[in-house]
């Protein structure tokens, strides 16, 4: 067993895939120097033909990667800021995502887009603190949000090996997470398979990304009163509906905690499917960012807009107590 950090896991996954598969290359801003500590050492090892420092032309290099993928490569793109994905939304949702169907299956676009440090990095304010995973799930781009070092490693590997475009969000709040890991057991994690981090009988808490740790804390804190099951979907699209159903049909109670905007977010989707298809004993709840949230700069305000542990705790208690 070795101590592995989430950030190191990402670094290692990319390094391993580049060593394993010649067709994998990585593009992005300041990746040669490796300012985000994911691409560290890759330039020296693989040279500028496979580790490409790009100008600030996100749209062009995103579709450039599409073209390279159509021609047989497996590009990985690092985006420095989550909102840069807004800038390339056309290139991902309208081009890369649509090639396969529109060409009647002639083409595939195996590109991985990843954001090391999504969500709030305190003090980065309104334009650098979004968590836009729901947007990609909505348009149908495979959307991954690993919460642990093992899953960061495994899902990054899977993303790179996948023949479709995949977006991977590595929440800022997860980068520092460490775990004792059996290095030999690291390997690809399948898409659409969630993970129960803690079993419980009373309430299912679905937590996304860095909020998995918060959910585990809350579960622990409540353990003498309420038996909380913590379900981590790991991939938001495709989503492990069967896995969720197994949990919710057992507990009958559901709370989702999700660090994205409330309206049309993943939290809403989860509640909707539970309402449609699962045996809910009482009304479910979700703890999210507010509708239309923009993160204000000042620390107190920034925190006030993100889902809080005490809100989750209260929601779990309320759902537990409520009855129809």
């Amino acid at each position: 067993m070795a101590r592995l950090s989430y950030l190191k896991a990402l670094q290692r996954a990319l390094a391993d895939e580049m060593a394993r598969d010649e067709s994998v290359c990585v593009l992005g801003e300041d990746i040669g120097v490796g300012v985000n500590n994911v691409t560290t050492g890759l330039l020296a090892k693989h040279g500028p033909q496979r580790v490409v420092d790009t100008p600030l032309s996100e749209q062009a290099f995103t579709s450039f990667a599409t073209g390279a993928a159509l021609a047989g490569l497996r590009p990985v793109i690092e985006f420095q800021i989550p909102s840069l994905l807004f800038l390339v939304f056309e290139q991902i949702a309208n081009q890369a995502h649509k090639f396969s169907l529109m060409t009647g299956g002639q083409a595939k676009v195996p590109v991985t887009y990843f954001v090391p440090g999504s969500g709030s990095r305190s003090g980065w304010a309104g334009q650098h603190s979004d968590h836009p995973y729901g947007l990609f799930a909505h348009v149908g781009v495979k959307t991954l949000v690993p919460a642990t070092p093992e899953d960061a490693y495994g899902l990054f590997l899977t993303a790179i090996r996948d023949d479709d475009p995949v977006v991977l969000f590595a929440p800022a709040g997860s980068l520092g997470v460490r775990a004792d890991v059996d290095m030999d057991s690291l390997g690809p994690v399948p898409l659409g398979v969630g993970r129960v981090h803690r079993e419980g009988a009373d309430v299912t808490v679905v937590a996304v990304g860095h909020l998995v740790q918060a959910a585990l804390d809350v579960a622990e804190q409540l353990s003498d009163q309420i038996s909380v099951e913590v379900f981590d979907p790991r991939t938001l699209y495709p989503f492990d509906w069967a896995g969720l159903a197994a949990s919710v049909n057992k507990t009958g109670r559901l709370v989702v905690v999700d660090d994205s905007n409330r309206m049309c977010g993943i939290g809403g989707e989860i509640l909707a499917v539970a309402a449609e298809e699962m045996r809910l004993a009482v009304p479910p709840k979700r703890v999210t960012r507010p509708d239309g949230a923009v993160l204000p700069f000042a620390r107190e305000l920034d925190l006030a807009v993100q889902p809080q542990r005490d809100q989750l705790l209260t929601a779990v208690q309320e759902v537990y107590k409520s009855s129809r």
Binding site: P55, T62, S63, L70, Q91, N94, Q95, T103, Q106, P238
Partner: protein, 325 residues
Amino acid sequence: MDEQLYRTMRLIRRFEERAIELVHSGEIVGGIHPYIGQEAIAAGVCAALRDDDVITSTHRGHGHVLAKGSDPVRMLAELTGRATGLNQGRGGSMHAADFSKGIYGANGIVGAGGAIATGAAWAAVKEGSDRVAVSFFGDGAVNQGVLLETFNLAALWRLPVLFVCENNGYATTLTIEQGVAGSITARAAAFGMPAVTVDGTDARAVRDAAAEAVALGRAGGGPSFLECTAYRFDAHHTWEHKARVRYRTDEEVAAGRSRDPLDVQGARLPEGARAVIDAEIEAVLTEAVAFALDSPAPDPAGALDHLYATGLRGRNGIGLFEGVR
């Protein structure tokens, strides 16, 4: 070579004319953007290319797809939305693609093909091949950010890509004067790539200029830019045939049409050759139309086939789960 150029142009011209008939008869749904008047550009550029070179095309893409060697029969089946079409009826006019011929697709978004072609050119270089990529686009596209960004990437990394701007004087109803400050070639030149303008109604001139650029690219000399001037004879899109939108005077249209690229090239053929080619092409298109109309429509049960290359299936619109675990 002159005959081949003419043949390609004639194929495009008659393909378009037959396609317009099929739009009017309701067999092609959604209409098309006719390429008539610009045939010398696709024909000339693609004459300088090999089968394994890559192109990206536009909303006005039929000419490029045909000139690059796609089967007109399967192309027409695509436009009529048949299972036998190039894209199995999934793409239609604006997304016709043929990867077996290096055709990375028409594209519904103006300016979107440039970066895709440039990425393909990069892949070719990494592979050690001397393949090149060509991106076709209109004069409207030179105002599109992603394309301007792409000029920089291509020049910076000296990639074997040829940018072909078909300047037909209009972006839908917007004139060049209303749309383009400075000049089109200056935009490319600003990034340090050779940029020239040729008469896009003269297929030979286009071919020669393209051949030079392609040779430069194959030799590792980086990207080039070719502006080809021409006039769009027909509507921006066939909806204009019904709608009353006026943005060009009758005189202007007549003047534009008076220099027909097919006549320019046709005049270079030996006595009688033109009629022979015309007859050949007529036969091809008669077959294409018959094939298309005889072909089956795709099965609606497969409406989302190929949505994911991996075969992933999401939920359908009434919530059935398929394939997820």
